[in-house]
């Protein structure tokens, strides 16, 4: 059964056609990596899935709910869809532990005791239990991103969106964060959509790779095929440039 389904989706910013005829089905448990040049619409596509960007035409079904229908309670969908941002977006006025505990408390109405237990367990999982009482400004970029991942997981989402999670990190920090993401995506019932430029990582974790350019999906293949024999010329050109690194 599909977790995310785009049906003829169109997205415009004024006159700019940002997403063109998007048709895409992502099944439960799949890990899909989205690649493409800057400005191709990858992030925009990921951000439509939890309604941070609205779509103008077409249908977008997330976890059985039609996000394009105005009657749909967007907050209900967002509870099930975690998002990790390029710039972490930690709550600057809350310490690390509170960053993880805030949404489960306000949205899920979890008891303090249970909430704290889950939060500490998650921080432990991402290797940051000892930073629980630090403020976001006191930890490194890589640590911030791991806290952000723990924060998303605290909502027990069925689906995770990663929007260039390592693009703002020092090279040395990237591996730690990718390690955590790899662990998250390996959970059998977790559906993930990852926007990234890390091709090695994509090869390792993805079931499927999607290539976008100019707001269109140009290639949508199982991972092996995408890297070995892409059919689209623009995708081939893109890969040949990236692989050299």
């Amino acid at each position: 059964m599909s977790m995310i389904e785009f049906r003829d989706v169109q997205k415009y910013y004024g006159n700019f056609h940002a997403l063109k005829d998007i048709n895409l089905k992502i099944d439960k448990g799949e890990t899909v990596v989205l690649v493409g040049p800057s400005g191709s619409g990858k992030s925009t596509l990921a951000r439509t899935v939890n309604g941070l960007e609205t779509i103008q035409e077409g249908q977008l079904i997330v976890n059985g709910r039609d996000i394009s229908d105005k009657k749909t309670d967007i907050n209900r969908i967002r509870k099930d869809v975690g998002m990790v941002f390029q710039h972490f977006n930690l709550y600057a006025n809350k310490d690390v532990l509170e960053n993880v505990m805030l949404a489960p408390r306000t949205v899920l109405k979890l008891s303090e005791e249970e909430n704290k237990k889950t939060a500490m367990a998650l921080l432990d999982q991402v290797g940051l239990a000892d930073k629980a009482h630090n403020m976001p400004s006191q930890i490194s970029g890589g640590q911030k991103q791991r806290v952000a991942i723990a924060r998303s997981l605290a909502m027990k989402p069925r689906c995770m969106l990663f929007d260039e999670p390592t693009s703002a990190l020092d090279p040395e920090m990237i591996d730690d964060v990718l390690g955590v993401i790899k662990y998250v995506t390996s959970q059998s019932d977790m559906t993930s959509l990852i926007v990234t430029h890390e091709m090695g990582f994509a090869q390792e974790v993805a079931n499927r790779v999607i290539f976008m350019d100019n707001g269109q999906i140009l290639e949508d293949d199982p991972t092996d095929i995408f890297f070995k024999q892409p059919t689209n010329d623009r995708a081939k050109q893109f890969l040949s440039k990236i692989i050299q690194h």
């Binding site: 941070l52 907050n75 941002f85 600057a92 809350k94 952000a148």
Partner: protein, 212 residues
């Protein structure tokens, strides 16, 4: 000067009291109204944003004295009888709230939008995100400019003198015209204003350091 002060002590203290009362009331209500208008101005709904913008642009661009006169002379004619003190304090509140709205709005806008997005992406409502994430940070940022607004408010409360509000400036005018000692009278009035405004300045600086 000491003589002038002791002979007119009751008048000065009465004026000081009304000035403090008017300032405290106007400060309290303008902070509430200003913050609400600031929130209107950042709501997703365009209609509310326009309402907020209109409020700010009207009241910040009309002289305080005109707003006050309107409440002193026009409102009693058509709506309800109010005295000079009330009219002055309402005028002061409305005028100051427009400036506070702009200050708070700037504070809200300077909190990185990513935090709002993160909160919304976790299923929090706009109001929850505002309450727990954005507003606490915004208020911290706007403490220094708010301090300026508070000091301005106290000084602007001298508008009450024009509408028989019995405040410091009003008493000062009265004493000066009785004693003809204008120099010392207004020096004393000035000192009384400093007694209110200096502590506000210092308290704001203290808060700024403490919360930084």
């Amino acid at each position: 000067m000491i003589n002038l002060l002791t002979h007119n002590w009751n008048s000065f203290i009465t004026g000081f009291g009304w000035t403090v009362l008017s300032s405290v009331l106007a400060l309290f209500f303008s902070l509430i109204i200003g913050s609400l208008v600031a929130i209107l101005e950042v709501l997703p709904n365009k209609f509310f944003r326009i309402i907020g913008k209109i409020y700010v642009e009207i009241f910040r661009n009309i002289p305080l004295l005109v707003i006050t006169m309107f409440f002193y002379l026009v409102i009693p004619l058509y709506v309800v009888k109010i005295n000079g003190f009330t009219a002055g304090t309402i005028g002061l509140t409305i005028y100051t709230s427009a400036f506070i709205a702009e200050t708070v709005r700037a504070g809200i806008n300077s909190v990185d939008i990513g935090q709002m997005e993160a909160a919304r992406s976790q299923g929090m409502t706009f109001w929850q995100a505002m309450r727990y994430i954005v507003l606490p940070q915004a208020f911290k940022l706007v403490i220094p400019p708010l301090g300026n607004q508070f000091v301005n408010l106290v000084k602007n409360s001298s508008v009450l003198a024009f509408v028989a509000g019995f405040d410091l400036m009003y008493q000062g005018n009265a004493i000066a015209s009785q004693t003809f000692d204008t120099v010392n009278t207004y020096l004393i009035v000035g000192l009384f204003y400093l007694i209110i405004t200096l502590p506000i300045s210092y308290y704001m600086q203290y808060l700024e350091r403490k919360l930084a």
